[in-house]
Symmetry: C2
Subunit: 223 residues, 2 copies
DNA sequence: TGATATTGACACTGCGGCGTATCAGATGCA
DNA sequence: TGCATCTGATACGCCGCAGTGTCAATATCA
């Protein structure tokens, strides 16, 4: 487990590196990685993952390939990292606003939808990455997409949990329904972004709200 | 408009060609095109458009590149042709079954959903092409996807038209709602395909039906 | 100030796919 | 049967990108 001996402490110190422009090795590396992530959002979110080459991302980051491979094995790894961050940001904002509007379920749904459409309206790159570019890349990326969807489905179920207790639906049924609700919102968002964002946000929120509440009411009321 | 003169009728006859293996030029070309389309469905629907090269499609068709370029300019053109056919097939089946179940709206919705999930269950390649591979390819392909979505949204609105007359919703509102309904079904289908098709078709149909009818009822009843 | 680490620009190799061209063999026509 | 067409296999040139290597310029430390 330890073929390498500590005979060369000076060499070992190389790992730490020296400070440069006021930042130590780790800080510089982290900053470069952050710039690459931002460049990934910009590149994937505008020209698309398919047209994004390592060189293009590096140009957007103002760095060279050398530092790309310092932080990522390949562009797919950057995509996964970027996607993870985008999905987390969307999730965080939606949940935060929804919880702030508790306990009124209608207000919560409205807050969640408003948070979503506002966020992607302010930065359509996020929507393109989260809802479009992430699909059909590779099995690994598909898995990540599945995982994120599962997380959102779970969140939907948690938020509506208090209102679904009476429903005698199986866990599977609830998951399918929540998947449907998620899909409804996603497609509305997709078409809004890929079109010219013709409709005002209020119309999106209002109709998505109608749809979601129709489902929640129906399920809560049984039938 | 006519720099070329008809000075060479024999050459012009070349266009007609000679029969070969019992088929004339046009028939052979059509048959090759059909084989390429089928190979496109197989290739795009299994390994995906991203991994599909012209050579691979040709190998699947049992033809060489020469005949690929006889019928298509590039692989994107084949994708568009394949997508058009797949979308049309789905649309045709769904509408046919839905209309056969008229005039009971509940039965129509159930028939439409059953037709969809049956079709993609029998041939998951269609679902992969229609719902996954088609996204994030190019602006042209995006437009085709938008057009197909619009067609499905219109179909949903037509099918539910009799029940929405009373609703005082604008055209825009109805389109957004129909988009949501479509998205719900699509995401349920996507997750079903990308997962291991764990749930039985009946569960998908049943829950999608619940969701769709919840929306239709809510809209029809006003509120 | 000199030695060393760090940076950025760029050259280089290798791979894989696209689109075209070539050619020998098979098929149909006169 | 001989000639023209069609077919299929394969070769070829080209280009773009991935990933690595080189080197001079710059910043830090002793």
């Amino acid at each position: 487990m330890s073929p390498g001996q500590q005979t060369t402490p000076p060499t070992a110190r190389t790992t730490t590196g020296r400070t440069y422009r006021g930042a130590d090795r780790r800080q510089r590396q982290d900053e470069r990685r952050a710039r690459l992530m931002e460049a990934g959002i910009e590149t994937f979110g505008t020209i698309g993952y398919r047209n994004a080459t390592v060189d293009r991302v590096c140009a957007a980051a103002g760095l060279t390939k050398r530092y790309f491979y310092e932080s990522f094995d390949d562009s797919e790894e950057l995509l996964l990292a970027v996607y993870g961050r985008v999905a987390e940001e969307l999730h965080t904002r939606i949940v935060a606003d929804a919880e702030a509007a508790a306990p009124d379920i209608e207000a919560q749904v409205r807050a969640a939808l408003t948070a979503l459409f506002r966020t992607i309206g302010d930065d359509p790159r996020l929507a393109r990455i989260a809802f479009v570019e992430i699909l059909a890349v590779s099995g690994t990326v598909d898995s990540a997409w599945q995982a994120v969807n599962t997380a959102f489905v779970d969140t939907i179920l948690q938020l509506t949990q208090p209102y679904l207790d009476a429903a005698d639906l199986s866990e599977t049924d609830l998951e399918i329904l929540a998947t449907g609700v998620l899909g409804a919102v996603v497609l509305i968002a997709q078409r809004w972004i890929l079109g010219e964002r013709a409709q005002p946000i209020e119309a999106l929120v209002s109709n998505a709200h109608t749809l979601v509440m129709a489902v929640v009411s129906r399920v809560a009321a049984l039938d």
